[in-house]
Amino acid sequence: MATFNKFNCFTEDVAEKVHNLGADTLKVLLTLTAPVATNSVKADLTEIASGNGYTAGGTAASISSSAQTSGTYKLVLADVVFTASGGAIANCRYAVLYNDTSASDSLIGWFDYASTLTIANGETLTWDADPSTGVLTIA
């Protein structure tokens, strides 16, 4: 399972109303270039080329639950499936979750698949969001 890494800006952005994780459109984009914790907006990243089923900016992840229980907030997202069609999707290694509704496409976290992934024509890459642990929690 890909490991989650938080962008530093997220903690301040949450505190300063940049995110409404219950309603904003959250997207997952792919990159081959390692993000760093100090990146803050989508423009800081080098996204893979669009085409063959991959849309620039990535794909929206449906919000399944945005709620707290006993004081711990958990964000549960549905999976995102990238399907290569008409050719291979450009190689990638990292999936980045960001807020497409925020004015600057503010970053939330990234997932490292630990090696370069090739998605050949007709193949899929499923960004598998663990429902029980959630994508992130805030306690």
Partner: protein
């Protein structure tokens, strides 16, 4: 029915995004639309989790479509639905809401990855 409920969420989300990206969005409108999204999402969850027993912790589980149906190398993969307790780290899955609820009620939970 599920498609209609899901469309309600999508419509509310589109309206919310349209308001959010205005130069001067209305806070009251955003609050109203945000509440509508949550309400529509709850309706989807209630529909999928219909018949699911409470979690052992006492909380009512939520239901959602975890993965859309898709094709991989020409082979079809069915959608995956999850019944999940937000407070605990447990869920049950099935290729239909009914199957997921049945597995949840039978205690057939998704195995957790070994640490």
């Amino acid at each position: 029915m599920l498609d209609q409920l899901t469309e309600s969420v999508e419509r509310a989300t589109v309206e919310y995004n349209a308001e959010s990206t205005k130069d001067a969005p209305s806070k009251s409108k955003l609050d109203e639309l945000s509440a509508r999204i949550k309400s529509a999402r709850k309706a989807v969850s209630d529909h999928i989790a219909s018949g699911a027993n409470p979690c052992k912790c006492g909380a009512s589980p939520i239901g959602y479509r975890k993965t859309e149906a898709y094709m991989h190398r020409g082979q079809p993969f069915a959608a995956v639905y999850s019944i999940l307790c937000v407070g605990c780290t447990i869920d049950a899955r099935g290729n239909t809401p009914e199957e997921a609820v049945k597995r949840w009620n039978a205690g057939k939970l998704t195995p957790r990855p070994q640490q």
